[in-house]
């Protein structure tokens, strides 16, 4: 029987289920083969006829350029981060359907950008923000303080109501290992699929601060399981982004490379996963941050700008 070929372990199963259509096709043909060879008790044709439409349902419909453009105009909006410098640099902000990565050394402002974007996106009624926190750095107090700055024109009760509305649109979940992350992402994917029908407020921004702290304990060494986990997390993040028009923002740290020059962590196989990669640097003793594009899908890399993190 083809049973032995089926991936059994949880991690591998998640990879194959989130894989591309081709991997499914091979699985489907395997399934059909089993039906033909192994299972005489079942009436072959009847069984296959029932299975076939489902297999065909599984491959994604093809789109032409015009439809793609329409889809991107209709569904893939820019979510402004609220920091003017970054928004101008990125042509509007974080793009829905894309995976944006922020790299930077310790206390360079990564978490501040995440928190500020969360507050700003939740404020502008774009939808719900999901914050996956791995370093206990999600600070509701800091967000409240940012909202306070954003809503200086309001006063008294209106301000309080506004704060509550914004804060209720930000969800936080703590995650302390990569398996928990994969679990949560699968759960999120499942829920998003079912929300389409039930009409909930949709998640528009998913933040993981920081993904590198989950991955460093499993990366490296002789085995390749670490890389497998990293790439499968990347695949499912990009899938979520694309299928549910979510903008995904992850943060990554820096490690010393050759000659003591800092470079983004997680290595070469992660490098190809994010659509957009931004680097933050921060001068000691000032609140001005520099941001530069290291990688972008449609913009020249190397452009730099400054923005100010308010205290």
């Amino acid at each position: 029987m083809a049973e032995f070929n089926e991936p059994r372990s949880k991690a591998t199963a998640s990879v194959s289920s989130s894989g591309n259509p081709t991997s499914f096709l091979s699985r489907a043909s395997k399934c059909a083969k089993t039906l033909e060879e192994g299972n005489r008790s079942l009436s072959d044709d009847a069984g296959f006829a029932q299975v076939q439409p489902m297999m065909e349902d599984w491959h994604q419909p093809w789109l032409n350029g015009v439809e793609l453009l329409e889809d991107s105009n209709r569904n893939k909006h820019f979510l402004p981060t609220g920091y003017e410098g970054i928004d101008v640099l990125l042509g509007g902000g974080l793009c829905e359907g894309q995976l944006t990565e922020i790299v930077g050394s310790s206390s360079s402002g990564k978490t501040q950008v995440c928190l500020y974007s969360a507050a700003h996106v939740a404020d502008k009624h774009f939808g719900v923000v999901m914050f996956l926190d791995t370093c206990n750095s999600f600070s509701p107090k800091r967000i409240a303080c940012m909202v306070d700055q954003l809503s200086s024109s309001f006063s008294g009760e209106a301000k309080e109501r506004r704060l509550k509305r914004i804060m209720s649109n930000i969800f936080c979940h703590s995650i302390f290992d990569i398996f928990a992350l994969l679990d949560v992402l699968h759960q999120l994917e499942f829920n998003l699929k079912h929300q389409v029908t039930s009409g909930h407020t949709k998640i528009c921004l998913l933040i993981i601060d920081s993904i590198s702290s989950l991955l460093t304990p499993v990366l490296g060494g002789k085995g390749s399981e670490g890389r497998l986990l990293m790439v499968s997390a990347g695949i499912i993040l990009k899938k979520l982004a694309n299928e549910h028009n979510v903008s995904v923002l992850v943060t990554n740290h820096m490690v010393g490379g050759e000659g003591g020059i800092l470079k983004p962590a997680l290595g070469e196989s992660w490098k190809s996963i994010p659509h957009v990669r931004l680097q933050l640097t921060h001068d000691q003793g000032s609140n001005i941050c520099n941001v530069s594009i290291l990688k972008h899908t449609f913009m020249a890399s190397g452009r730099t700008t400054k923005f100010v993190i308010h205290g």
Binding site: A2, M54, Q112, H173, P217, M254, V255
Partner: protein, 346 residues
């Protein structure tokens, strides 16, 4: 989610589909007996199929699927929770102010500085201060002290506890009721009794203790602070493979984050300094490298400014960077006073 996504064998999948089970919802209400009959398979096999159904699909169908993500909290709820939280005072008001009231629970705070600046003093002070009774505005918690260097001095802890009690009694001298209520707790020995001390002699032991803490804390619910003095010591020697060190350390830091969050306690890591060559000059930074600098929520650096000890907030998601003077007195960490002069160790 579809049947096709389930990690079951193709033949089982085909049987399910031909019996009319096309979605997971159709499977969620079915009993193993019914499934075995419908699919003409053994009962065991049927219950195995039902077992692989993802946990969340079942809970989802029970709760009606309202939550976006199970276990997630809104920032609003977290804010109100945070406002209820009490912080652990350092004993020095200026330091408490820049820390936003003291050391925060649910966060990992790293404190670093040159030898002799008072890291261990601060560690012992926090182990004592966490026990201040609720009536005196404290947390009335217990402390776990993990000592890797052997620098914990129990006589000094006794002295600091005495100092803390004296100051508390002085501060509350007009509240006779409070003083009478906690007479028993306000004894130096009862303060010492509530410090759980672990002496660590190698990094293997250090990791073992941290892994064991989860179990320990499940029994000792009152523990409100874990102090590791110092987190660095054993990792600065006997480690050839630096990549492995990074892996081990980042795993350890995630474990500590998890403890802090799960048991609502503060984790304070004391760290040593090292020199780092940047931009043509050697500068002092905290040890354990760049990846470690991400391992804590807050980072406080203690340094000498002339003859005064100062603390500087180097990194924090919620606090602005600021510095404040403090001093180490015979009673423990206190506000800086002008009389206090640096005693240079010659």
């Amino acid at each position: 989610m579809e049947i096709a996504n389930l990690p079951i064998s193709p033949s089982q999948r085909a049987k399910l589909l031909s019996a009319g089970y096309t979605t997971l919802t159709s499977l969620s209400a079915v009993s193993p007996f019914q499934l075995a009959r419908d699919l003409n398979i053994a009962l065991q096999e049927a219950s195995d199929i039902l077992k692989v159904m993802p946990e969340f699909t079942r809970s989802e169908s029970l709760h009606g699927g309202n939550a976006i993500l199970k276990g997630a909290q809104t920032a609003w709820d977290m804010l109100s929770e945070e406002q209820m939280q009490k912080h652990i005072t350092t004993g020095c008001e200026n330091l408490d102010t820049i820390l936003g009231g003291g050391i925060h629970c649910k966060e990992v705070t790293e404190v670093g500085g040159v030898p002799g600046i008072g890291k261990t003093q601060l560690g012992i002070q926090l182990a004592v201060n966490v026990q201040i009774p609720v009536e005196y505005g404290g947390l009335h918690g217990k402390a776990v002290y993990i000592d890797t260097e052997g620098s914990f001095m129990v006589e000094r802890a006794h002295q600091i506890a005495e100092g803390c009690i004296m100051d508390m009694l002085d501060k509350f001298r007009h509240h006779q009721k409070v003083i009478l209520a906690c007479q028993e707790q306000m004894q130096p020995n009862s303060f010492l009794a509530n410090i759980f001390y672990f002496r660590i002699c190698s990094y293997t032991e250090q990791i073992a203790v941290i892994n064991y803490l989860g179990k320990f804390l499940a029994e000792q619910k009152d523990v409100k602070i874990i102090i590791i003095d110092s987190v660095t010591f054993h990792f600065r020697q006997d480690f050839d493979d630096l990549a492995r060190r990074t892996r081990v350390l980042s795993g350890m830091s995630l474990e500590l984050m998890k403890l802090a969050k799960t048991y609502n306690l503060a984790v304070v890591l004391l760290n040593q300094v090292t020199t780092k060559f940047t931009e043509g000059s050697f500068q002092l930074t905290l040890a354990l490298g760049d990846s470690w600098s991400h391992a804590c929520t807050n980072r406080v650096i203690l340094y000498w400014n002339g003859n005064d000890r100062h603390a500087y907030i180097d990194k924090s998601p919620s606090l602005r960077s600021a510095s404040a003077p403090f001093s180490v007195t015979s009673k423990g960490i206190r506000n800086a006073t002008s009389q206090c002069k640096r005693v240079r160790m010659m």
